[in-house]
Symmetry: C2
Subunit: 248 residues, 2 copies
């Protein structure tokens, strides 16, 4: 992309091992691309993770919502656009558009990020970053999907216990944000994905989990096509919550 542009745009191709049995790009791979694009664009704008790390700060993903009209098929080219919608003192909203090979926007995503001090793990003031230059990147490009909502799982059935493994753990020693998505989608049978596709998907990242933790998955069916999921660890501490809305 052009350096310092308010909208970053990055090109991809749907690789063979990144599509599911229907030939569509998996949501966990799309999530990975979205988070990478967030990183690329933040770096291009001067507030990437490398710059933050130098000052002992880092970005933490708090919320992610993805809504799709369509999704790339195997070998199809697509691009992801990303821009900053809002900067508050403690959080910033970054949005995304998924652009198909014909140049049509076929999906959108919203994310909410905080900056934390790597030692204290406390939230830092975004408006002091680069003398608040981050606000210069705020952009009014439209993102026509709802903001991440509140997810409440109080009647969920305990459907799975999963002990985290080597491949779950990222460079920070945490279960990585993408692996949660993969484990959540694996709660559903392949028949579900044969009959339906995901229309909207939300993640709320609440607490970190670590190697060897046993994650307990609670699934609450809100309707035939809508499910809320909560992942807990230990004595019941919430790790993350998710909402999955299918369409036929």
């Amino acid at each position: 992309m052009e350096k310092n542009s308010k909208v970053g745009s990055y090109n991809f191709v749907a690789e063979p091992f990144h599509v599911d049995f229907t030939g569509r790009l998996t949501l966990s791979v799309l999530g990975n691309h979205l988070l990478n694009c967030a990183g690329f664009h933040a770096a291009d704008c001067g507030f990437g993770i490398a710059f933050l790390n130098e000052n002992r700060y880092t970005w933490v993903l708090s919320r992610l919502a993805i809504e799709l009209e369509d999704i790339p098929r195997q070998y199809e080219a697509f691009s992801i656009e990303t821009w900053v919608e809002n900067v508050y003192r403690l959080f910033t909203d970054r949005n995304f558009a998924l652009v198909n090979k014909e140049g049509k926007e076929v999906g959108y995503a919203r994310s909410v990020w905080a900056m934390i001090n790597m030692e204290t793990r406390k939230l830092a003031d975004l408006l002091t970053l680069h003398s608040s230059s981050i606000v210069n990147y705020v952009c009014d490009k439209e993102c026509p999907i709802a903001k991440p909502g509140r997810i409440k799982v109080d009647k969920g059935a305990h459907v799975l216990d999963y002990q985290t493994k080597y491949s779950d753990i990222d460079i920070n020693g945490h279960v990585n944000s993408i692996k949660y998505i993969e484990h959540i989608l694996d709660l559903f049978s392949i028949e579900t994905f044969r009959e339906k596709r995901i229309k909207r998907f939300e993640m709320a990242y609440v607490a970190e989990s670590y190697y060897g933790d046993t994650l307990s998955f609670y699934l609450q069916e809100e309707s035939e096509d809508q499910f809320d999921i909560e992942i807990r660890k230990g004595a019941g501490e919430v790790v993350c919550r998710s909402k999955v809305i299918f369409t036929r």
Copy 2:
């Protein structure tokens, strides 16, 4: 890459969600890149999967061996070179070099492929492909690692049963070649990867497995740093075998 070159070269960056807790590119992601490069180069040479599919044929991966002196760290650029070493009637050998950001070859891989008829699943004659033009791409670039060897697991301990899930399944309805690598590495504790790194890794793909199959993992410790693994399904049919050699 330059079209029709005997050595294809493709550039990558080690993405944050593609490195493990030590910050090194995971072997499953490297395997994914290798197989993609095989596909890119085959397509550039005119015998890619799209061309084969038109004629109701497809490529099938039979063996993969990877040997590494070093592996890219998070955010590091690297490239993968690939070329055809041999073409026999029923198999072809394709090799790879992993080139680090300084341009040094720090790892190699060897792969063995067959072409099958998509209806009969029978092996096809590679020398009839494009009037045997595939042999024009044979290249004598050196690949200084041993060929994939025979792996025998006859005293393996039954260490895991795993039921395949949505995220394991590729567009052909099979457990994908990369997911086996991920599940095999997950047999080892994180302490193993803290003390050692993988020096050599081999896969022999024997039979396909499908959604809902229960895969049984058998682990045989050949020495402190060398393990042979066999994955079986059903009544004991072998799905694949693997050899993992660690170094300190």
